[in-house]
Amino acid sequence: MQRIVHILIFSLITLLSCTSDNDDTISQANATFNFSHNWDASAVTNTDFNTIQYTNANGEQLSITKLRYLISSITFQKSDGEIFILDGYNLVDVTNNTNLSFTPITTIPTGSYSKVSFTFGFNNDANYNGNYSDLNSTSWSVPAMLGGGYHFMQLEGKFIDNTTTETGYAYHTIRAVDNSGTTQEFEDTFFEVDLGAVTITNNAVFEIDMNIAEWFKNPNAWDLNVLNNTLMPNFNAQILMFENGQNVFSLNTINQ
């Protein structure tokens, strides 16, 4: 009998040693960013691709065949101005259903933050001062004749044009460059997405939404009959995309 008691105690200790420590309070937290996509509140995943089923603000019917975009510089800012920038960037690839969730390896202290944000695309330092083998390997770079660096987004698909012909579009965003003069003129098109204030008490999951329809809507109703391809070297088109991108992202909820 005594032997059985010993074995039971031994087993109990063994089992207890394997339990997780979720109940402990933590001083450093992981931040995870999940990216979901919709067309004016109707959920979009890659299973919705390749079918003409969306109508943009200008009235063109369209499909999506590819969507991937870069986010970087996730930043937590305290009210006293202290800033935590999380290492890394993430190429969200909706087409292949990969990288829809991103957890930077760096953690943040728990506590209150007056602002959380990320950058759509790369800021100029990240865009030009890094050579990223993962991004090069997936053909994400921008030709040197357009200033080099990297794409910010590739949104592609088909639309019904004004001759009722199914036509391709390639809505690619990069840093705007004007090659018409003797020297290249640039204008920044990366932008900060402000997710507002947050109090971090535990590992936190930010649910981010992208409304794809916004890229064609506000403030510029996008006419795919005019602007459907060769948009990378089109300075004005890049500015219009930048303007339309401002309200594309929203924070759905934070779970922690």
């Binding site: 691709f49 993962d134 030709p143 004749m145 036509t167 390639a170 070297p233």
Partner: protein, 354 residues
């Protein structure tokens, strides 16, 4: 004291389970891939399965098997017959004929830089995952070597040399099909092409002509060739995205390509982007070898595009037939493309049956 015995037994088993097995095992000689500088600088590491590391003995065995007609049913055809080193391991015939004189409907793919195919989807239609699995198919394909793996294993086992070579490569003289394909895959991974004139230009060791430079600009210019979205760039020295696209060859799709494999109609007519390296040696072009010359390929993208439901959105100006390059731009683009040919690769004695 007796009460403690079960604990001692428990302790004994815990200790035994943690001990190292001191059995001597044969280990072949490691031979890691030599990664070219431009690859090292710009792209991700090659894919080498942990269960099939590169070894001197494995590579040598794979090479011998690659050039040996013993794999075919009637001992008349080796891998190298349709993947000839002097043609960057492709076939000059539009369709290769198998041992029974039958032809497939695809052009033999060139073989190089295969370890950098990160998604590991092989064949024009991506029907096989991993290089090891790829090598299973041609041996039994009735249009190719038309053999059975049981017969291959028996012939190799009865051969005077092979059992010993398998012993050296894998530590066993018992030959099975998975070891055959592992050896072939090891040899194929060594087929690295990285010494073209354009590579040397990027390394500051060669100078391009003004025509070749203009051709590169046509390649990279979204208003002209716009080739870089699918075919690599100075930042992606593979010169392919290894992805699948419908590049507008036909208005009516008869060969479904990737769509046949995935069952998704949205994939119909999609085929893998081939690398643009070594075009000098790899004619004819396209999955069905329909174009005999590079000029025909360029003309296709310039004026010959055919619309179809799955044509890639990157194929622009389809209604006009394509990107409408000038005669000069076409000539320069061709001159640039030829700078991607790697003569050191096709002349490398390590890759030849000497």
């Amino acid at each position: 004291m007796l009460k403690c015995v079960p604990y001692y037994i428990l302790l004994f088993f815990i200790c035994v389970s943690c001990s190292n097995k001191n059995v001597d095992t044969y280990v072949p000689t490691s031979s890691p891939l030599k990664i070219p500088q431009l690859f090292q600088d710009n792209i991700l590491s090659p894919v080498v399965p942990t269960n099939n590391p590169q070894t001197i003995e494995g590579i040598a065995l794979g090479k011998k098997l690659f050039f040996d007609p013993i794999l075919s049913a009637d001992n008349t055809q080796a891998c190298a017959d349709c993947h000839a080193p002097e043609n960057a391991f492709s076939d000059t015939d539009r369709f290769s004929d198998g041992i029974d004189g039958f032809f497939s409907n695809r052009n033999a793919m060139p073989l190089f830089n295969l370890a950098w195919n990160y998604d590991e989807k092989f064949f024009w239609d991506g029907r096989v995952f991993s290089l090891e699995h790829q090598a299973f198919q041609p041996v039994t394909d009735p249009l190719e070597m038309h053999n059975t793996w049981m017969q291959v294993e028996q012939k190799l086992q009865q051969n005077s040399e092979y059992p010993n070579l398998f012993e050296q490569a894998f530590g066993t003289s018992t030959i099975d099909s998975s070891l055959v394909t592992k050896a072939i895959a090891q040899f194929e991974r060594t087929l690295i092409s990285s010494n073209s004139k354009f590579d040397k230009h990027l390394l500051g060791e060669a100078t391009l002509t003004s025509e070749e430079l203009n051709g590169f600009n046509v390649f990279m210019d979204e208003t002209k060739g716009d080739c870089f979205h699918c075919h690599g760039s100075d930042k992606n020295p593979l010169w392919t995205d290894n992805m699948f696209h419908n590049n507008g060859l036909d208005a009516t799709i008869t060969d479904l390509g990737l769509g046949e494999i995935t069952g998704d109609p949205a994939d119909n007519g999609k085929f893998k982007s081939p690398s643009l390296r070594n075009l000098t040696f790899t004619a004819p072009y396209m999955h069905d070898g329909r174009f005999a010359t590079i000029d025909e390929v360029i003309n296709h993208y310039s004026e010959g595009l055919q619309n179809s439901p799955t044509i890639d959105p990157l194929m622009k100006k389809v209604a006009q037939g394509g990107v409408q390059l000038s005669a000069q731009d076409k000539a320069d683009l061709k001159a640039f493309l030829l700078t991607l040919s790697d003569y050191e690769f096709i002349n490398n004695s390590d890759f030849k049956n000497l």
